[in-house]
């Protein structure tokens, strides 16, 4: 997609569904993060539409945050696989490809290469968003090999530490001793060290975090996308609790995310020197652009007076 394809002809607008027109007029397409970003969610039409994820789901929240943080939603493609996450990801106004049995990273490899051939003058972002089962259990070989090959796209793992939508089986990412509905004796081996595996396999930027601070979480997502554009594979492991399988009352989900930030999901950021260079450059550019926009706005306001 591109901005040109999304925008309808003015005369055709009244025949289109209202939600679509709202998305074009008040959505984040073609806007900067200051105008329609995570900092002002609730003041513009967001990309994610109604979805069947559970009440108070922290994964749904993180997905909302991912879509609000995209640097260029009209040039982005998301991929996912079986799991809770795809219920919401597929309801967003960004093309979504569903991979079977955890092959999202294999498909993303091909897609990234195809985009580079087909649109050499454009920057297309490919992001795989899958659960801990899809990324680290079922799709493990495809995830690891995409990293080993150095494919340039972003992998986001929504780590809820359980197979949430099949009834609560323990996954490789469940912590040791976790008693779940389908693992009543407790899990008897350790949680997989996902970020360490990613670093060993050649990811140039890896983060483990619990999304409680909006600004920080958005910055991480954007960094991962910017680095993937130029340097190599990037990986985010984010804690997105399953309030059903871990029996967390919905109003305490946020508190639980904060508690986990001090426990299993302590913030950990790794980047290579090359990745650091890109991040510093892009963030300086963004800062300068935002500053000049503010100055222009101020000048326009002064002129109006």
């Amino acid at each position: 997609m591109s901005l040109k394809y999304i925008t309808p002809a003015e005369r055709f607008k009244r025949y289109l569904p209202k939600d679509y027109v709202e998305l074009v007029d008040f959505g984040p397409f073609g806007k900067t993060q200051d105008e329609a970003g995570p900092g002002n969610m609730g003041q513009f039409k967001e990309l994610v539409e109604e979805h069947p994820m559970c009440s108070g789901c922290w994964m749904a929240y993180y997905i909302r945050l991912i879509f609000a943080s995209l640097p260029c939603p009209e040039e982005t493609v998301t991929l996912g696989t079986a799991g809770c996450g795809r219920l919401a990801i597929s309801q967003a106004a960004v093309p979504f490809i569903y991979g079977n049995y955890g092959d999202q990273n294999a498909m993303a490899s091909g897609l990234t290469r195809a985009f580079r051939l087909r649109f050499p003058d454009k920057q297309k972002d490919v992001i795989t968003i899958a659960g801990d089962g899809g990324t680290m259990d079922i799709g493990f070989s495809m995830t690891m090999h995409s990293w080993i090959r150095g494919e340039k796209f972003t992998t986001i793992m929504l780590d809820n530490e359980v197979y949430g939508n099949t009834g609560g089986q323990s996954s490789g990412m469940s912590p040791k001793g976790a008693v779940l509905k389908m693992a009543p004796m407790g899990k008897d081996f350790e949680k997989m060290p996902a970020t360490k595996l990613a670093q060993a396999a050649g990811c140039v930027y890896t983060v483990r975090m619990s999304p409680t601070n909006i600004k920080k979480a958005a910055k991480i997502i954007r960094r991962a996308i910017f680095v993937a554009r130029e340097v190599g594979p990037t990986f985010i492991q984010a804690y997105t609790s399953c309030n059903i399988e871990y029996s967390i009352p919905t109003e305490e989900v946020f508190q639980d995310a904060k508690d986990q930030e001090k426990d299993r999901f302590q913030f950990e950021e790794y980047m290579t020197d090359e990745a650091k260079e890109v991040i510093e450059r892009v963030e300086a550019e963004e800062k300068a652009a935002s500053k000049s926009r503010k100055a222009a706005k101020k000048a326009a306001a002064a002129e109006a007076v």
Binding site: P38, G39, N40, M41, G42, Q43, K45, E46, L47, V48, E49, E50, M53, C54, S55, G56, C57, W58, A60, Y61, R64, F67, I214, T250, E251, E252, V253, F254, Q255
Partner: protein
Amino acid sequence: MYYVAKVNSDQCADYKCTTCTLYCPEANTLMFDTVNNTSWVDEDRCKGCALCVYVCTDMLDRNCITMVMSGQEG
């Protein structure tokens, strides 16, 4: 019948605060009205998780949001 969040607009307008809209797990549900300076809830989309109540009451101690039965006033 199900619970939805309800914002006390008069009380909410006293604070220049958009925190609850940033922490709702549902997109396009808890919105912010920039004219009247208050949050408001799209009742048809609200799933009643009460995370906004936690943010407004427990975190910020402002008590502007309550859970009510859908379709009932007050």
